[in-house]
Symmetry: C2
Subunit: 294 residues, 2 copies
């Protein structure tokens, strides 16, 4: 999507947050920080599309401060380990539920996992809140339509993962989709990844491979599935698929504006004013939004 004025300081802030966390020497961090400010100016002047700019600025930042990769690796590992311990509590929410009700609860768990985002300046990442999952309904809810498709089984589903810790909860929804007779291809990012997004290693650590038919990467570390960057292998899988499920804000920003020729379901919590107003909802609500590509 074309960036808005609010996106400029947001993207810069997220870069400074990771920089400050990874580089202890204040003078060195200031020097790198100024390079990032300059690069941000250049990228926002040259390009319009936000996820492309964010990707390029992140790549520049980790070139300048490679310790950021280790910083995110530690954060991701710690997050996955912690959340795996509470996965069984989420599974308990499904007990006794059947059919659409069970499916919708799994949807809500997967969306709730999106609260782990570290890529929004004004937002502090949070662990999943079980009471919230029970009480909160979807603010945009195309889950019945999705259910009517997947409950027949035999669908090939591309499932675009987002944050690493979140994948622990995606595993629950993927398991439901597979149990209904579908084949889920979970898609992580190529190393070194983007922010705290799941790479193949993270997805496996989160146990996705135990439930999905296949776990692949986009073939790139971009923040979404940038068609000029992704691998041929991924493109083939995308082409063969019947349905796309895309987690999180970055995939919504990019994928909702390209033509993929198949129904795409966005599962996310909008965490900034820009995305909330695009969806015409408040921030921090649960959203399952369907876009049909023509």
């Amino acid at each position: 999507m074309k960036y808005r004025v609010r996106c400029i300081p947001c993207v810069i802030n997220v870069r400074f947050k990771e920089l400050i966390n990874a580089v202890q020497d204040d003078d060195l961090a200031s020097k790198i920080g100024l390079n990032i400010v300059k690069k941000a100016y250049e990228l926002f002047s040259k390009f319009d599309e936000l996820t492309h700019i964010a990707t390029l600025l992140f790549r520049y930042t980790i070139e300048q401060a490679p310790s950021i990769i280790d910083y995110y690796r530690r954060v991701k590992e710690e997050s996955i380990r912690r959340l795996l311990k509470m996965q069984h509590k989420c599974l308990r929410l499904l007990e006794g539920l059947e059919g659409y009700n069970r499916f919708k609860m799994a949807i809500k768990i997967a969306i709730a996992g999106n609260a782990l985002d570290m890529g929004v300046a004004e937002y502090e990442p949070k662990d999943i809140d079980l009471r919230e999952v029970l009480e909160k309904d979807l603010r945009i809810d195309h889950s019945m339509e999705l259910y009517s498709m997947v409950s027949k089984g035999n669908k090939k589903i591309i499932y675009l993962l987002d944050n690493a810790g979140e994948a622990v909860f995606d595993a629950i929804l993927i398991n439901e989709l597979e149990t209904l007779g579908n084949k889920v291809i979970a898609v992580a990012k190529e190393e070194p990844g983007f922010q705290n997004d799941a790479t193949l290693n993270d997805a496996i650590m989160a146990g996705i491979d135990k439930y999905a038919t296949e776990v692949i990467t986009t073939g790139t570390s971009a923040s979404s599935i940038h068609l000029d960057e992704v691998s041929k292998h991924f493109l083939e899988k995308l082409k063969e698929s019947d349905i796309i499920i895309a987690k999180g804000m970055a995939h919504f920003e990019y994928v909702s504006e390209i033509e993929l020729g198949k129904p795409t379901y966005f599962l996310l919590i909008p965490k900034c004013d820009v995305i909330a107003s695009m969806l015409n909802v408040e921030k921090h609500v649960y959203v399952l939004y369907k876009k049909t590509h023509q």
Copy 2:
């Protein structure tokens, strides 16, 4: 003070906040915003001293978007009007108190007013909280020493104002200082001011002129009393004074590092990690810190 890495995104964020509030057209705001990012890069590369950089970047920003001046004018007027209505509640906190206890309560009221700051990215300005004033003690407390000086009377006191609404509560402390037999010269900023800081008009609207011996300006719109910018008139008043009372973070950042040859008392609430760690306290505490210039 020399800026730290955290100051870079903070200063940029505050500029974007005022820009977004004052310029409704998103494309125009983005264009101006990018100019601000570029200018920020240049200023942080060229200079070391934070309040100087912040001043120059603010001046550049209002050149690019003059409606920001009106935005702050509206915010300041609304804030002063609202707070004048609760001034009597603060005065009631002094009832029945005498001597040092009364003075310290007035100090706490004046510091609590510093919560109105709009110049810190990670901080949302707040109105004074009366219960907090009663319950919260000073985390750094050189008030006894200040009281022992001003309780003898006959001191010329330079009182450097900070945010416009805050001046409503400074009026209470200034009144106490005058009642003790001192002469207070309250110092506002020259038009168009800096952020939501008090200009002469704001200080008068807040009623400072009813209590202080005199209300003057620094002769400049800089964020503090930058000695290369302030008026001769202000410098003379400064020279003649016995004591300086300086409100807020910007005055602390600048004045604590220059030599004025007289006792200086900083009254502030540290609202960011950088200032809190310089003072070796937590954020959001009440501070009355004395620096003796040699």
